[in-house]
Structures are given as C-alpha cells and as structure tokens.
C-alpha cells in the first residue's frame, strides 16, 4: 500500500516537473528531455497502480503490456524528435542571431 | 554448505566497501586520471567480490555461469571505455596532476 502511494506520488511530481520545464525552457533538446521525464511519470503511475505485495495474489499484466509498448514508442518518438530538432537547428537563420549576439556583448561588458 | 554460505557473505562484505571507496575517490581525487583509477577499482574488484560471493551462495552451475558472464562483460566494457577516455584525454593535452 505504501509502495503504491510512494511511487504514484513520485510519478505525479515527475509529470509536474516535466510539464513545468517543457513550458519555461526554450532549447529543443531540453524540451525533448522534459517530454521523456513526463512519459516516465505516467508509466510510473500506471505500474504502481498494478502493484501488489508478494503474498497477495498475482499482478495484473495489462498495465505492464501497456507500459512496455509505451516505452518502445517513446524511444522512437524521441529519435524522430531529435532528428527534427537537428533539422530545425541546421536550417534556421543562425548567422543573424550570432551577429546580434556579438553586437550585444560589448554593451553588456560596458554595463 | 554452511561454510560456503558464510564465505560468500564474507566476500560480499569485502566487495561493498570497494564501491564506496570508488565513489569517494571519484569525488575527492584531483585529476581525471586519478578518478579513472578509482573507478576501475570499483568496477573490477568490487563487482568481482560480489559476483564470487553470490556464486558461492547459489547452489547451481547455471546461475554461477551467468554471474561470471556478467562479470566478464563488465570487465570488457569498463576496460575498453576507460582506455578510450584516457587516450582521448591524453590527445586533448589534459595535463596529469602533479604534487606541487
């Protein structure tokens, strides 16, 4: 009972932290990491809901199958998202940002 | 059987401080090469002691063979990756720590 509660609360906190990071950060790799942490929290809640201690009967295998499928799907989604992030980084107009940043740097050092 | 079980427990008790010394060495040592030294001690000797202790306690040959296979794989992986890291650090001209 306490194990179910502990891991469910952990999954909830992980989901909340991942959502917070997904909203406030701007780097695409950080966003992909945050989505991974959010999916981990959901899996943790699903498996913790199916947990029973060792003497109290068998464990329901349906959430385990769902979580197994979800892990494999999340890895492939991560690979696709990383590829898309690389393409965005390579095709966006970065020289303009670099020039603006180098123009802005002496101002900061003067301040 | 009692002797085998107790000697296995003794080997496990010997193996656990190697992991802790590896962690403490990884935190306290001043240089990347000395940290590699601490890391390899934890990998090889600590896991070796634990694997030998568990193999003495498990009464079947298949479990013993699987434990030794795990130890062999960890040995290969740790030696290969530590050698790669040390060679790459030497190529990048990271100076070893000297007592100054």
């Amino acid at each position: 009972m306490i194990t179910t509660l502990l891991y469910s609360m952990t999954g909830l906190i992980l989901f909340a932290m991942g959502l917070f990071t997904l909203i406030i950060h701007s780097h695409p790799l950080r966003k992909i990491l945050a989505v991974n942490v959010m999916s981990t929290g959901v899996f943790l809640i699903l498996v913790a809901a199916a947990y029973k201690p060792l003497g109290l009967g068998k464990i329901d295998p349906v959430p385990h199958a769902m979580v197994l499928t979800g892990i494999v799907v999340s890895v492939s989604v991560t690979a696709l998202a990383l590829l898309l992030a690389c393409r965005v980084q390579e095709t966006s107009n970065l020289d303009l940002l670099e020039r603006r940043k180098q123009e802005a740097r002496p101002k900061e050092s003067n301040q | 059987m009692e002797i085998l079980y107790n000697s296995g427990t003794l080997l496990i008790i010997m193996g656990v401080p190697f992991f802790w010394s590896g962690t403490v060495g990884l935190i306290r040592f001043p240089d990347i090469y000395t940290r590699l030294h601490a890391l390899t001690k934890a990998d090889n000797v600590g896991l070796g002691c634990i694997v030998c202790g568990l193999a003495l306690q498990s009464g079947s040959w298949t479990v013993t063979a699987k434990l030794l296979l795990i130890w062999l794989l960890v040995l290969i992986a740790s030696s290969a990756s530590c050698h790669l890291i040390a060679r790459s650090a030497m190529q990048k001209n990271i100076k070893p720590w000297m007592r100054s």
């Binding site: - | 656990v16 990884l26 940290r35 634990i50 890291i85």
Partner: protein
C-alpha cells in the same frame, strides 16, 4: 528471501546518490561520463544482490543486459561528442 542481501543493496544505493556530486560539479565532460559508468556498475551490483535477496533469477538477465550495453554510451561519447571540440566547449578548459 534473505534480508542480508537486501541490506547490502540498500547500502550500495546511496553510493549512486553520492556520486551525483561529481556529475554536478565535474570540470570536464569525461568526469560526468565516468560517473555515469560507475552508476551502471553500481546498478548491476544492486540487481545481483536483489536477485539473490528476492529469489528472482529474472533479475540476472536484466543485469546481463546492463553489462552488455554499459560501454555503448561511453564509446558514443568519446567517438562523437568529445572529439575535436574547442577549448570553450562543454567546459573542457574554460568552464
């Protein structure tokens, strides 16, 4: 079920939490990767002790998979990420 193995697994688990300090303040990128490798070995040891403590031989297979894939992240790091970067990247010489 034998409680002494589970106690040793419980002793090994804070080693992972302690080694996190080196990831957080490691000066070079290789220090962080070495700490991840130590975590992998600690995880293998914890899995072996739990499989002896909980009478579950399936955990040996999980430890076997961990031992197989332990070198993959480090080799990728050395061959892809850490090679040919400049001095100001990833906190190598300048943090």
């Amino acid at each position: 079920m034998s409680w002494i193995h589970i106690i040793f697994a419980l002793i090994l688990l804070p080693a992972i939490a302690t080694g996190m300090f080196r990831i957080l303040r490691g000066p070079t990128a290789a220090d962080r990767m070495m700490t991840a490798q130590l975590f992998g070995t600690c995880g293998v040891a914890i899995l072996l002790l739990l499989s002896a403590g909980m009478n579950n031989p399936v955990l040996l297979d999980i430890a076997l998979v961990f031992a197989l894939l332990a070198a993959l992240a480090t080799v990728t790091f050395v061959s892809r990420t850490w090679r040919d970067n400049n001095k100001n990247n990833h906190g190598n010489l300048i943090q």
